[in-house]
C-alpha cells in the first residue's frame, strides 16, 4: 500500500514527553511562586502554546504531514482568533457600562474558602 504510516524513532517521542513534563512543571511553578501581573500572563501563555505546539507537531505528527492537511486543519481556527478578539473588546465594554451605570464596585476583593 502506498499509504505510509507515521513511523518515527521512539527517541523523539520520549524527548517530547520529557519536555511536556518540564514545561508543565514550569507553568505550575508560575502559580506556586506567585508571579503576578504581565510576567504571569506572559509565562502562562508561552508555556501553554509551547505544550500545545509539542503535542500537535510531534504527538499528532502534524510536522510530518503534507501542507494540504496542515493548511486544511490549522487555518480554519484563525476564525476563532477573530471571535476571541471581538468578544474581548465587547466584554470590556460591557464591564465598563456595568461599573458606570449599575454602581458595581470593580475593586471588590474575592471571598476565600476556609481550609
Amino acid at each position: 500500500m502506498a499509504t505510509e504510516g507515521q513511523q518515527h524513532p521512539i527517541k523523539i517521542y520520549i524527548l517530547i514527553w520529557l519536555l511536556l513534563f518540564v514545561v508543565s512543571f514550569f507553568s505550575y511553578m508560575v502559580d506556586y511562586l506567585e508571579f503576578e501581573g504581565m510576567l504571569r500572563w506572559t509565562l502562562i501563555i508561552i508555556f501553554m502554546f509551547l505544550k500545545a505546539g509539542y503535542i500537535v507537531a510531534v504527538f499528532m505528527h502534524m510536522q510530518w504531514e503534507r501542507f494540504a492537511l496542515i493548511f486544511g486543519i490549522l487555518l480554519p481556527p484563525l476564525a476563532l482568533v477573530v471571535l476571541i478578539l471581538l468578544m474581548a473588546v465587547e466584554a470590556d465594554y460591557a464591564n465598563a457600562t456595568r461599573v458606570q451605570y449599575m454602581g458595581a464596585d470593580p475593586t471588590a476583593v474575592p471571598k476565600s474558602p476556609h481550609h
Partner: protein, 229 residues
Amino acid sequence: MSETLDKENILTGTARDWSSDMTTFKGVPWGKAMMWIFLLSDTFIFTCFLTGYMVVRSTTTEPWPVPSEVFALSVGGVAVPLLLIAIMTFVLITSSGTMAMAVNAGYRRNKKLVFWLMAATALLGATFVGMQVFEWSKLILEEGIRPWGYTDDSHLLGNAPQFGAIFFMVTGFHGLHVSIGVAYLLIVATKVLRGKYDHTNLEIVEITGLYWHFVDLVWVFIFAFFYLW
C-alpha cells in the same frame, strides 16, 4: 502517491492537491482525515466554551474566586495550591506518552505491545476521571459551589455566581471526552489484539492516538485559563 509533490513549491503543491479531483489528503488514510476534521470541529466547540468563559469572567463586576485557593488541597494541615490539578496534569501527560508509544508499536506491528500500551493509556485516563470526580465532589460538598451560585453557608458566597456554571460545563465536557476516550481506547486495543485490523497498516492506532492527544491538548488550555489565570 507520488513523492515528487513534496519537493514542489508549498503553495502550488497545496493548490494541486486540493484541485486534483481525487483524494485531497494524499497518503492519509480516510479515517485519519475524518478524525482530523472531527477534531477541528471539536476545537471550535471548546474554543467557543472558553471564549464564553472569557466573556463571563471579564464582564462580571463581582469578584471571581481565586483559583489557587479554591483548588488548593491541604496536606497535613498546609494548603498546597493546585496540587490535585498538577497531579491530574502529569497523569494526562503520562498517558499521552504511552499513547505515542502505542502508535509507534502499531507501525512495527507489535500487536501485544499495542494492546498493553493502549490499556495503560486507558487506565491513566480512568485515573484522571477518578481524580476529577474527587475534585468535583470537594467543590460541591465542601465549598458549596453550585451552577449559577453558591449555597447559603458557602464561604465563597458573594463571589461571581457564574463561576460554577462555566467551570462545571467546561471541565465536565472535557471529562466526558476523557471518559469516551477510555472506552474508545479499550475497544480499539481489544480489536487490534484480536486481529480485526490485520488487513490494514494498523493506522487505527494512530487515529485513536489523535483523539487522545487532542484530549490532552484541550487540558493544556483548560489548565492555563481556569487554574492558572
